[in-house]
């Protein structure tokens, strides 16, 4: 304890510790019933899943409550003690069918970790939150004993009153209880913030994602990185081949034609003219091939106008009626734009070629740091990821950007593919 600190410092520290004690007390008192109620509800809901199926409907609701309870504690930890507790809830399925939702929630290790935390929070958590308040309160009791309250107790029961380790049976031990109270008070003033921090550290130890989840994240990152490297290498190989067999070969042919023209110019002007026309055709063909190649690498309209207009231009090339809705306040980073563009392009091709649709709707918008794209068609449906439909390729490419893809495509249609890519607009 720093007894040499100036009075102002002590007063500030006393205020802080009083505030901390108040917070701890409020936290302990308010959270205990909620923790117990929440725990009971979650357990009952989960138990009812196999029994009658009622649990399918109550579990998502109960687990959401649990998560909001945990999130509120995370917010308090950051606000009061500057302790950041990361949360790692898996994204929930978008379609919201109860069984899918319940299944996803129960498969998420975070759900079980939260439940375990509730048990500890109701016991050890409760105690650690209460400690910063208990110390000064206990000190107050010591002062009260020293002030003469021991007489009432000893007078009515005839036995000594135990204050900490002091049996109070007369004024002298009562005074020492008072001194002990001062010690407790000073301890409280000095250590209250640290004690509350103990509570939040305990919370963090239980709530923060564990090693295996980090390992899982590393696995996903490794996989998407490998996919990204593989696909860009394959892309480069394709470009190399296209250039080699296309534009490059045509330029060689053109050069040869021009060489022959040079030779024939005087001897056989008619033949020279024919070859010149051929050379010009070669250059036109080379340009066409280069143009197609460029479109496949990075469409010019995407570079010039961004994702919205690039998708509009794409829609104008489709032989079916396509409505494009765009709500983008800026442009995403070039790699994200490109991935999103080629994803939409693939989906539109699918809609026309495989689903035999005659109407397509594309919607692009950005909200909450998420680029959301949906492509809907009125075709025959039956599309699935991994069925060689190109959808898994799209999913892999989006994966590089932590993007996800969901497909709803019942047989007979309609098909709706939604994609989400976390990104910022500039």
């Amino acid at each position: 304890m720093d007894t040499h600190s100036p009075d102002g410092n002590f007063a500030a520290r006393a205020r802080t510790s009083a505030l901390t004690s108040g917070r701890g007390l409020a936290l302990a008192v308010a959270s205990l019933p909620e923790a117990l109620l929440c725990y009971t509800l979650c357990l009952v809901s989960i138990a009812l899943v196999p029994v009658v199926g009622i649990g399918l409907f109550t579990t998502p609701w109960a687990v959401r409550w649990l998560r909001s309870f945990a999130d509120r504690r995370r917010a308090l930890a950051a606000k009061w003690c500057g302790i950041r507790i990361p949360s790692a809830y898996r994204p929930l399925p978008a379609d919201g069918r109860p069984w899918a939702l319940t299944y996803a929630l129960l498969r998420d290790p975070a759900t079980w970790r939260d439940l375990r935390w509730l048990l500890v929070d109701a016991t050890a958590g409760f105690a650690t939150a209460l400690l910063p308040a208990l110390l000064p309160l206990y000190a107050l009791e010591g002062f009260a004993l020293a002030a003469g309250m021991w007489r009432i107790y000893v007078g009515t029961t005839g036995e000594a009153y135990w204050y900490a380790f002091v049996p109070v049976s007369g004024q002298l031990p009562a005074l020492s209880a008072g001194v002990l109270g001062v010690v407790f008070l000073l301890l409280g003033v000095r250590w209250a913030p640290a004690l509350l921090a103990v509570h939040f550290r305990l919370t963090r130890a239980l709530l923060a994602p564990g090693q295996e989840e980090l390992a899982e994240r590393v696995r996903v990152l490794t996989e998407t990185r490998r996919d990204a490297v593989d696909s860009s290498a394959a892309e480069l190989r394709r470009i190399e081949r296209d250039l080699h067999d296309g534009a490059q070969a045509r330029l060689v042919a053109m050069g040869m034609d021009l060489g022959v023209v040079e030779m024939l110019l005087d001897k056989d002007p008619a033949q020279a003219r024919r070859l010149l026309a051929q050379a010009r055709q070669s250059s036109a063909d080379a340009l066409t091939e280069l143009r197609d190649l460029v479109r496949g690498i990075h469409p010019p309209v995407l570079a010039e106008r961004g994702l919205g207009d690039a998708v509009r231009a794409l829609a104008l090339r489709l032989p079916v009626a396509t409505e494009v809705g765009v709500e983008l306040a800026g442009r995403a980073e070039a790699p994200v734009e490109s991935a999103a563009y080629f994803a939409v392009s693939e989906l539109l091709t699918n809609a026309v070629k495989h689903a035999d649709a005659d109407r397509v709707w594309v919607d692009l918008h950005h909200s909450d740091g998420m680029l959301r794209i949906s492509v809907t068609d009125n075709g025959r449906g039956g599309a699935a990821v991994g069925a060689g439909s190109g959808l898994s390729g799209v999913e892999r490419r989006l994966g590089t950007f932590d993007g996800v893809l969901a497909v709803s495509s019942p047989a007979g249609g309609p098909t709706m593919v939604t994609m989400e890519i976390p990104c910022a607009l500039s």
């Binding site: 010009r280 231009a313 104008l316 090339r317 032989p319 079916v320």
Partner: protein, 217 residues
């Protein structure tokens, strides 16, 4: 005829200047960026502007935007836009004001100097010059969706394609090696089958056909 030319690649700019001068055009200004183009258009009041879509400093569609802005300020200002790729989206924006005097061609079209110069003259005269690729895209998109279009004979389709590119009856006749009267007959048939109002004005006719082809599916 005075031309303002905007193209950022020196080789192409130089080539275009020489080509246009060889055909008797006067180059009022040959610039290489968007801001310079805007200034040149305001100062020189040219008879026609030949503009590359992509220009510095942004290297996006700066040239197209400058051209569209200039046309808003001076409606009907003849503009021929050149590009390495054609997009129906851009063609639509150029045609949106319905006043003609616009062209949109692939840069490759410069290879055929006669045709290219013809296109510049047509645009300067308030006509239209649309790249064959734009028209082919429009037609391909409508294939099997557009009953009136499906009723055209192959010859009428050919005439329609050339007409949509902005060519006059005389030019179409020359190209298809038939008489102008025959083309006039084909044109009347096409307009009847598509349900369009016949007009003697070549430019109006082209715009009507383009509007028809760009209608929603």
């Amino acid at each position: 005829m005075r031309v303002v030319l905007a193209e950022d690649l020196f080789l192409l700019r130089d080539g275009l200047v020489r080509l246009l001068e060889a055909y008797g055009f006067e180059i009022a200004a040959a610039v290489e960026s968007g801001p310079e183009l805007t200034r040149a258009l305001a100062e020189q009041q040219p008879d026609v502007a030949v503009v590359d879509v992509r220009l510095p400093p942004t290297h996006t569609d700066e040239g197209l935007q400058c051209a569209l802005r200039a046309r808003r300020e001076r409606p009907g200002l003849p503009v021929l836009v050149l590009s390495q790729h054609v997009e129906q989206l851009y063609a639509r924006e150029l045609l949106a004001d319905g006043s003609g005097g616009v062209g949109y061609l692939l840069k490759d079209r410069v290879f055929d100097a006669e045709q290219f110069v013809d296109a510049v003259r047509r645009v300067a005269g308030g006509g239209t010059a649309m790249d064959p690729q734009v028209i082919q895209q429009l037609l391909a998109r409508r294939a099997s969706h557009d009953r009136p279009l499906d009723r055209l004979t192959p010859r009428e389709r050919e005439v329609l394609e050339l007409m949509a590119q902005g060519r006059t009856n005389a030019a179409i006749a020359g190209r298809l090696v038939v008489t102008e009267r025959a083309i006039a007959k084909h044109t009347a048939n096409i307009f009847a089958k598509l349900g369009l109002e016949v007009s003697d004005d070549d430019n109006r006719r082209v715009l009507a056909v383009l509007a028809y082809l760009d209608r929603n599916l």
